[in-house]
Symmetry: C3
C-alpha cells in the first residue's frame, strides 16, 4: 500500500463550493474547524466549470478553493470531475452518451452516463485529469486523487460492441474457442465471423432481467464492461501519474456493487475507498460484510470510508433519519473493520436538483445548534483525540468466506433452477453466522492467498476457474476446514458445466456428487437433521440437493419429502483437513451451529466467547497496539463478558475489565488486554 | 363569466351520430325527449368524416345532425373534432404524432396523440375549427363550443424541444438565470448554449416515474407542456372567436388531472366544463374536492358537469355498476357544488372499438324498459321541474384549502424524502376533514384572492412563488387563521430550496423552523399529543418534522421515538390572526379536531351543527334564493338536524323542518330557511 | 390421418449430437437401448452447422447421426432446423429479425425470432428444408418431419405491415367494409387509404397488455400473424412434400398457446404433436384440457406427446422436481387422452447456455444409477410391453366444451368489463367440472361437427361467427343440451357488438336478454340460488349479468345486492333439446351440480359413477380393444368402484374387478370390461 499521508484518521467529505457563492465558503471552513473536519473531497462534479468549451480550461475557482483549504491547514481529496460530461461535450460528440439495455442512445442529462469506449471521452477525460495534475503537482493540499465518481452501469453502443470483439479475440483467440466456451451449438448460436457478435442487450439475447439466451456471451460482456470502465479509470490515473509519480490515486467504490468486479480493479487503486449507504433494513452484518469485502480487496490493507450520510439519504424509498448515535456507531464500525478515514457525503445540502433532500453536515437551515451537527462535531473530537494509534492496524482473521463476482453474475444470469436465488442473500447469511458469534472473518476469492486461514466457508461457489480446485484441495490437505455450499463446482469460467456435473473438479475432495436439485417456492421448506457428532434439526429452503456419497461421511439428512433421509450435509477428511458439503440453504440457527462446528474443528476461537444479540466485535492489531472494538447496534444497553480483558476504552478513557457495559448504540475501543 | 345560454339546467351528453345509420338518429331524439334531454355534445371525434382529405371539407352530415336537433328544440355543445387526427394526416405529416417519454415517435392510431407543436396540427386543427365556426355562426342550436377533448399527455419531439428552448428564453432571458434556477452546477449540468437543452424524458434526465436528475428542468417542462397544450386550444378558440365574437367556448377538463395546470387554463375558458369519472373506491369527499377545484378555477362561477357515466365505466380495473340512485345522487352532488349542467358520456353505446363496454343512456340492447334508462329519465324530469331557480347560484365558503399544480409536480418530482408522498392524498385528507364536518370549502392557490376567507388550510405548500409569503402574512395579520402543513415553504418557483431551509419566507409568520424530517415506511407511525387548549392524542404517519420554536406556542408534541416531546403542532398569533404549523400527516380523527379548532378560532360555523356519517351538505345562494343541499351517500337512511330550517324540498315538494330525513342515496334541495 | 409409421408407442425425444463429441453419441445410443428409447428428434437447432454460409451446405454430421440411429434400429423425427437463424443470416439480412411490440428491430441472438414475412427467411428456410428432404427421401430412419420448432411470437416490421394490408384487402375487399368491421368511425379512426394502416403495436394503438384503441384492428392482426407463421410453416412443408410425397410432416404445438389459432393450423399438420410443460401448480384437469384440445384439433385423431421433461424445467420461477412416479403418471395421462407417442425434451442436458438447468434423461452427472433414469427406463419397458394394442384408439365423448381462439383474443383485447377476466381460467373451470366427475369431454369450436354430442357447454362464447347461431340452434333442436355462460353472443367475428346486445343471434334460442353486467373486484361475490328442480346455493364471482327472461324458465337467481332475486340461470326447451344460460362465474361446487344436471338431461353417464378426488378416468376404443385408464394424481392410495369391470391391467398384468385399487400416483390401463 501507498501509505496514506495522514497523522490521524482524516475526517470530512464531499464539499461542492462550485454550487455556492464565496461567502458561503468562508462560513463552511469555519464549520469544518468547529467539527474537526480536515479532509475535503472537492471538484467531484465541475467539468463544465473547469472546461467551459473544448478548448478552454479555467481553474481559477479551484485554485481559490484549494488556497482556502491550505490556509486553514485542511487538505483535499481532489476529484477529476469526469463522472458527468458537460452539455457541450454531449452535444458535440453524441456518441459519448451511452446506449442502454433497451438499445436506446441517450442524450445529455444526469451523470455516470459516458460510454467508456467513446473516443471523445477517452480523449477528453484524461486530458482534464492531466491538466489538473500538472497544475496541482507538488501541492501538499492535494492529499490524494479521486478519479471520476462511483463508476458503474453499462453501455451497448457500436463503439462498445467493436471493443468487445477485440476483447473477445484477446480472450479466445479463435472463434472455435469462443463457440466452445459459449456452447454456441445450443440453439445454433454459432458465430462464424467476429463481426456477427452483438452486444447482449434486450435487442439481442437479453430477456427479462436475469434471463439471457447465451450465458457465456452475457458473462463475457459483464467482464468486458467491468474492464472497460476500469480502462477509463486507468486512462485518467495514467494521466495523473505522468505528472505526479507518487500521487495517491483512487476512486470511490460501492461495496457489494454487482456490475464491477472490484477484485480486478483493486490492483489499480492505491487505496480502497468506498461509499457506505446502508438501507435502514440492513443488518449490522450486512454492513460489516461490505466493509470486509472492501478491506479484503487489497489483502487487508486499511481503506477509506469515502462517503456516508450524516443523517439520511434521499434515494431510498423511505429515508429514515439515522437515530441518535447511529452515525457515530456506523463510523466506528467502519474503523473497526479497517477504515483509516471517515468521510461524509456531503458538507452542505445542495439547494436544488436531484439530491436536495440528501442529508449533509450542514442542512438547508444552516444551523449548528442541531442534533446532527452536534453528533458530527462530537465524532470529530473523538477522532482528533484518538490520534494516530489505530492507523495502519490490520484486522487478523482465521475464517474466510468466499465471494466472487463472476460467480455472482453467472448464478444470476442462469435460467433456473429458482428465481429466488440471490447470490448476495446466501453469502450474507453465511457471513452473518460467523459474524454473529464473534469470529473475525475475511472475504476471499479465486486468486486469494488462503495461507493464513483455518476455515474457508462458501456457498454458490458456482464457477471454478482453472486451478481453483487444486488450491482448495491444497488448503484442505494442509489442514484447512472447507465448507462447500449450494451449487458448488457447477461450471468453468465460461459457465460451461463440468463433465460429470457438480461438484465438478471438487468431487474427489468432497467425496460426493449431486444427483438431483429440487427447487421449491419460498414458502416450502424442508429440514436438516444433524448427526455424526452434530445435533439438532433446522429448517432449510430454496434448493434441495440430493447428495450421493462416495467417500464422505454423512452429517445431516433431509427430514421430509421423497428425499427424506437423503444426505444433505457431509464431511470428508482429507490430509490434515476436512471438506464439508451442504446441499440446501440452511436457516440462520442451523448455520450458526454449522459454522461453530467448522471453527471448532479448525481450533479457531471467537473474539469473545458469547456475543449478545446486536453486539459486534472486531480486533485490529498494529504498531499502535491491539484494539478490541465492541459495538452495540441495539437500542438497549448490552453487557459483554471478555474474559481477561484489561485495557482502556480510548473513547471514554475508562478502564475496561472482563465485563464491558455498552450503552445503547454504544462503542468501546479498548486498547490492550487478553480478551482481544 | 359569459352567461350560459340556458333557462334550466341543461341535460344531455355526448352523441355520436357519425357512428350510426340515420334511422338510429331518429330513434335517439325520440329517447332524448322521453328522458328530458336537451343538450347534446356532437362532433367530438369526426375529423376524418368532416375533412376526408387535406383539401376537402364535408359538413353535410353535421348539417343534418344540427337540423335534427333544431327541429326538436334541442341544442348542441359543438365539438371541433380535433382530439383524434385523421389517418391521412398522420401519414402525410408524421411529425404530428408524439414522441413519448421513452423517446419513441408514435404512428397513427388512437386519440389525444397530436403533438401540440406540430406545424401541421397547429395549421389544420384551427383551420377546421374556423370552418365550423363560419358555417354555424349565428345558429342558436350551437349553444356552446367544445374544443377538442380532454387535453392531456405530453410530447418530447424535436419540435417541442425547440419550442421549449424559446419558452425558456422567455422565462429566464439568460442562461445564467436558467442555470441558477436549476442549480445546474450540481452534477455539472450547466447549460452553455440554448441548443444544449434537451427535453426531459427517459433518454435524458428522467428515470423511474418520479425521479429526474434535474428537478428544475423537469418542472419547467411540465409548465411548458401545459402551456403548449393550452396554446393548441387557444389557436382553435381564436379561430372560432374570429368568426363568432360572442361564442361561448370551452373544453372539457378532468378534475384533479396532474399534467395540466388548469389555473393557467381557466382565463381562456368561457365556462369550466369537466368530466367526472369517480372510481367505485372514491369517497364522496374525493369527488367533492374535484367539483370544488373545478368551481374554484374561475372564482366560484358555476360550471358544467360535461361527462359522467349513467351506469358504469369500461377503463377501470373492475367496472362496477352505479347502484340504484347513485347516478342521480352524484348528479345532484355536482349541482350542489356549483354545476349548472348535467351531462353524460354517452347517449348510445358504440358497437365496437375501445369503449364498447362503457355505459350509456342507451345500451346495446336498445331498450328503455330498464333500470338505467328509468333513472336517466327520472332525473330529466326532476331537472325540468326545477327550472331555472338554481342557475347562477354561488356556493359561499369561508374556508379555503390550498391546491397548487406546480407544488404537486415539484413534490412528486423530488427524490426523497419518501416515495409514499402523494400530493393528492394529503390534500384530500385535509379537505375531507372540513367537508365531513359540514364546512363550505373553496380551493385556492397562489394567485387567489384570499379576501373573503376566515381559514386558509394547507399541506405540501411546498413551492412559494414570489409574493406568496407576503400575501399569506397579510391574510393572517388581517385576521385570518392559516394552517401550514407538511413541507411548507421549502422551495421557490424553480424548486430551489430557500436559504435557511423550510418554512423559508414563512418562518417569521409561523415562528418555527424545521430541524429534521424523518421519513418512515407506511406501517411505522407516531402520535401527536395535543395541548395548549386542544386535547387528544392522534396517530400520524409519513413524515415527521421536528419543529424548532422561535416565537410560536406549542400545541402538540410527538409521543414516541427519539423526538418524543418535540413540537409537531404550533401556533403563532400575528396581527389579528393566527399562523399554525403542523409537521406530520395527521390521522383523519386528528385532522377533524384540528380543522374544527381552526374554524372555531375564525368564528366559522359549519352548515349544520352535526353531520351524520355519509351525509354531505352544501349551500348555494343566488337570485333564485338560498338552497341547502343535503345528500346521503350511505345505503341507509340518515337523519340530519338543521336547527331553524324551514323550507321546501324542491325535488319532492315536501316541506322541511329542523329534522330532515334522507332516504338511502337520497337528496334534498331545500329552498329558504335558517339552517342554510 | 396419415397413419403414424410405428408398431408400438414410440418413445424418445430431443437429441442434440451437434453439441457433443462423437464418443458421447455412442454412449447415448447405448442409453437409449437401455431405456427402451426408439425415436429421436434430431436436427432441431443446427442451421449454422448445416449451412455455414449462404452458399454452402454440409450434411456430413447429420448423415452420421442418422446412420448411427439406423444401425441400432432407431428412427428419427427429423427437424428442419429453422427455428433459430444463423448469425451470418441475421448479419447479412437484418430484416430477418423481428420488430417487437415496442417497435424495436431486434438483432442476432436467441431463437424463434425470424420475421415470417422476411423475404430472406421465406427463401432460405424452405430451401434448407428442401435440401434435407432431397437428401433423406426414401430413408426409413426418417420416420417423420419436424418443421422448425414451437412457432410463436409476433413481428411488427414493415414487411409484416405490407403483408397485413394485403391480407386485409383479401378479407374485406374494400375500405368501407374494413371501416365498418372495425367501427372505425369511433374516435375517427377511419382509414382512407390502404397504406394508412399500421401494425397495432405500442407505437400505434396498443397500450398496456390488454388494451388497444381499435379492437378490430388488433383482432385482425392476431389472425394475420397466426396465418403468417402458418405460412412460413407451409413453405417448408411444401418444400419437403415436393421431394417426398408421402412424408409425415408436422411441427410441435404448445397446447393452450394464445397467439396461434391451432384450429387454423391443424389441416396443415399430418399429425398433431405438442409439448407439455405443466407448471407444478397446474391441476390434472388443466393438463387434461390441453391434451383434449390438442386431440380435438383433428377430430380426435391420436396425437404425439412431442416433449415433456423427465424431471424438472428451468424456465419456471421455481423448478420443482417431478415427484417419483409423476413423470410416468403424466406420460400415461397423455396416452389416456389420445397420445400415441411419448417423447422427452431432452436426451442429454446441454453443458451451457439457456437450458443448462433443464431436466434430461441424462443429467450432467452422466449416471444411470439414478431415480430419473430408472423411471425413464421403467416407462420404456412398459411401453415396449404394451406393444401396439392402443395405437389408433379413439376417446369417445358425448360432452363438448367450447374453445375458440378468436374469442379468447377478443375478450382479452377488450377494455372492460373487468381486468380479472381470463378466458382460460373460465373455460378450464367449466372443463374441470365435467372432468372431475368422470365425464369424457371433447373441445369444440365454431367449425366443429356437433353431431355426436349430447351436451355442449360454453362460457365466454363471445364471438359468434356467421352460421354459429344456426348450428347451435340446430344442435338444440336436434336434442342437444346447450349451456351458454358468461358474455355469450356479444359480438361478430370482427368484435362488433350485435344489434340488440347479448346474447345477439342466440336470443331466441336462449329466451333471455342481458340488461346489465356488474363487474366487482375479486373479493366481492354474490350467490346463485338454484330452483326449478335444481337445489343448492353456490358462490359466484367476476361478472354478474342480470338476465331478462322472455321465453325461458328461471333455474337460479342472485342472492344478494340490488339484483337479488334477478335471474342468473335459465333454461329454454327448444325442439327436442334445451338451451341453458348462466350469467355469472359459478364456484366449482356449483359448476359440478350444473354440469351433472346437463348430462342427466342428455342421458349421459360418467365413465365411473363416483370418481374419488384426485383420480382421473378416460377411455380409449380401438382395433385393439377398449381401454379404461384410471390415473391417481394424489400422493395417497385411492379406491375406485367400477361396477361390472372385468379385465386386465396391461401395466401390471393383474386382473381387475369392480373395485380398483390405485397406489399413490398409480396408473391402471384396463383392457375390456363393462365399466368402460
Amino acid at each position: 500500500m501507498t501509505d496514506l499521508p495522514f497523522s490521524k484518521i482524516p475526517y470530512g467529505g464531499d464539499w461542492n463550493p462550485e454550487q455556492w457563492a464565496r461567502p458561503v465558503w468562508d462560513e463552511d471552513v469555519q464549520l469544518f474547524e468547529q467539527a474537526g473536519i480536515d479532509l475535503l473531497s472537492v471538484n467531484i462534479f465541475a467539468w463544465t466549470a473547469l472546461q467551459p468549451t473544448e478548448d478552454t480550461y479555467d481553474f481559477a475557482r479551484l485554485d481559490e478553493v484549494l488556497a482556502l483549504l491550505e490556509s486553514r491547514g485542511m487538505r483535499a481529496c481532489l476529484g477529476t470531475s469526469t463522472a458527468a460530461v458537460p452539455a457541450w461535450l454531449a452535444t458535440r460528440y453524441p456518441d459519448v452518451m451511452r446506449v442502454d439495455e433497451q438499445g436506446r442512445r441517450h442524450r445529455f442529462g444526469g451523470r455516470h452516463n459516458a460510454c467508456p469506449n467513446s473516443p471523445a471521452y477517452r480523449r477528453l477525460a484524461p486530458a482534464l485529469a492531466g491538466q489538473l495534475a500538472r497544475r496541482y503537482a507538488g501541492r501538499d493540499v492535494a492529499a490524494l486523487w479521486h478519479v471520476s465518481n462511483e463508476y458503474g452501469g453499462a453501455c451497448y453502443c457500436p463503439n462498445c460492441e467493436a471493443a468487445f470483439r477485440v476483447w473477445l479475440r484477446g480472450r479466445y483467440g479463435t472463434l472455435d474457442a469462443l463457440n466452445h466456451a459459449w456452447n454456441a451449438a445450443f440453439w445454433s448460436q454459432t458465430i462464424t465471423a467476429w463481426d456477427e457478435i452483438v452486444a447482449p442487450n434486450e435487442l439481442s439475447v437479453q430477456g427479462a432481467e436475469r434471463v439471457t439466451a447465451v450465458q457465456g456471451l452475457t458473462l463475457d460482456y459483464q467482464r468486458f464492461m467491468s474492464d472497460a470502465l476500469l480502462g477509463a479509470y486507468r486512462l485518467e490515473k495514467g494521466a495523473i501519474r505522468a505528472e505526479i509519480p507518487d500521487a495517491v490515486i483512487t476512486t470511490n467504490l460501492m461495496g457489494t456493487y454487482r456490475p464491477l468486479d472490484y477484485r480486478a480493479w483493486a490492483p489499480h487503486l492505491d487505496v480502497i475507498a468506498w461509499d457506505s449507504y446502508p438501507s435502514p433494513q440492513d443488518s449490522p452484518a450486512a454492513i460489516a460484510l461490505r466493509h470486509t469485502l472492501m478491506r479484503s480487496l487489497k489483502g487487508g490493507q486499511p481503506f477509506m470510508l469515502m462517503e456516508q450520510t450524516p443523517s439520511q439519504q434521499n434515494w431510498q424509498a423511505f429515508n429514515a433519519l439515522k437515530r441518535p448515535g447511529v452515525m457515530r456507531l456506523q463510523s466506528w464500525q467502519a474503523v473497526a473493520h479497517g477504515a483509516d478515514a471517515v468521510m461524509f457525503f456531503q458538507m452542505r445540502r445542495s439547494v436544488g436538483a436531484c439530491e436536495k433532500f440528501h442529508g449533509a453536515v450542514m442542512e438547508h437551515h444552516g444551523r449548528t445548534d442541531t442534533r446532527v451537527f452536534r453528533e458530527v462535531a462530537q465524532l470529530g473530537a473523538e477522532l482528533r483525540a484518538l490520534g494516530n494509534v489505530t492507523l495502519g492496524a490490520r484486522t487478523p482473521a482465521r475464517v474466510a468466506v468466499w465471494f466472487d463476482w463472476p460467480a455472482w453474475w453467472a448464478v444470476e444470469n442462469s435460467s433456473g433452477p429458482t428465481a429466488a436465488l440471490h447470490y448476495l442473500r446466501e453469502v450474507t447469511a453465511l457471513f452473518e453466522a460467523f459474524h454473529a458469534q464473534g469470529y473475525a472473518v475475511d472475504l476471499v476469492g479465486p486468486d486469494s492467498d488462503l495461507g493464513g486461514y483455518g476455515v474457508l466457508a462458501s456457498t454458490l461457489l458456482y464457477l471454478l476457474p482453472a486451478g481453483a480446485a487444486q488450491n482448495l484441495t491444497a488448503f484442505v490437505e494442509g489442514g484447512g476446514v472447507f465448507l462447500a455450499g449450494l451449487m458448488t463446482g457447477v461450471a468453468d469460467e465460461s459457465d460451461r458445466v463440468f463433465p460429470g456435473g457438480p461438484p465438478g473438479p471438487l468431487r474427489d475432495l468432497l467425496g460426493v456428487w449431486v444427483e438431483e436439485v429440487d427447487a421449491l417456492p419460498p414458502g416450502e421448506t424442508n429440514e436438516v437433521i444433524l448427526q455424526g457428532g452434530l445435533s439438532g434439526t433446522f429448517g432449510c429452503t430454496l434448493l434441495f440437493e440430493q447428495l450421493r456419497v462416495e467417500t464422505a461421511e454423512v452429517l445431516g439428512t433431509y427430514g421430509r419429502d421423497f428425499y427424506a433421509g437423503a444426505p444433505v450435509l457431509t464431511r470428508r477428511r482429507a490430509g490434515r483437513g476436512q471438506a464439508w458439503k451442504l446441499g440446501s440453504s440452511l436457516a440462520p440457527a442451523g448455520l450458526r451451529v454449522l459454522t461453530r462446528a467448522l471453527c471448532d474443528e479448525a481450533g479457531i476461537e471467537p473474539l469473545v466467547p458469547e456475543l449478545p444479540d446486536g453486539v459486534e466485535v472486531t480486533r485490529r492489531d498494529g504498531p499502535g497496539g491491539q484494539f478490541l472494538f465492541l459495538l452495540n447496534h441495539a437500542p438497549d444497553e448490552r453487557r459483554v463478558e471478555v474474559p481477561g480483558l484489561s485495557g482502556t476504552d480510548l473513547l471514554s478513557g475508562e478502564a475496561m475489565g472482563a465485563t464491558v457495559l455498552l450503552p445503547p448504540y454504544g462503542v468501546r475501543v479498548v486498547r490492550g488486554g487478553a480478551g482481544a
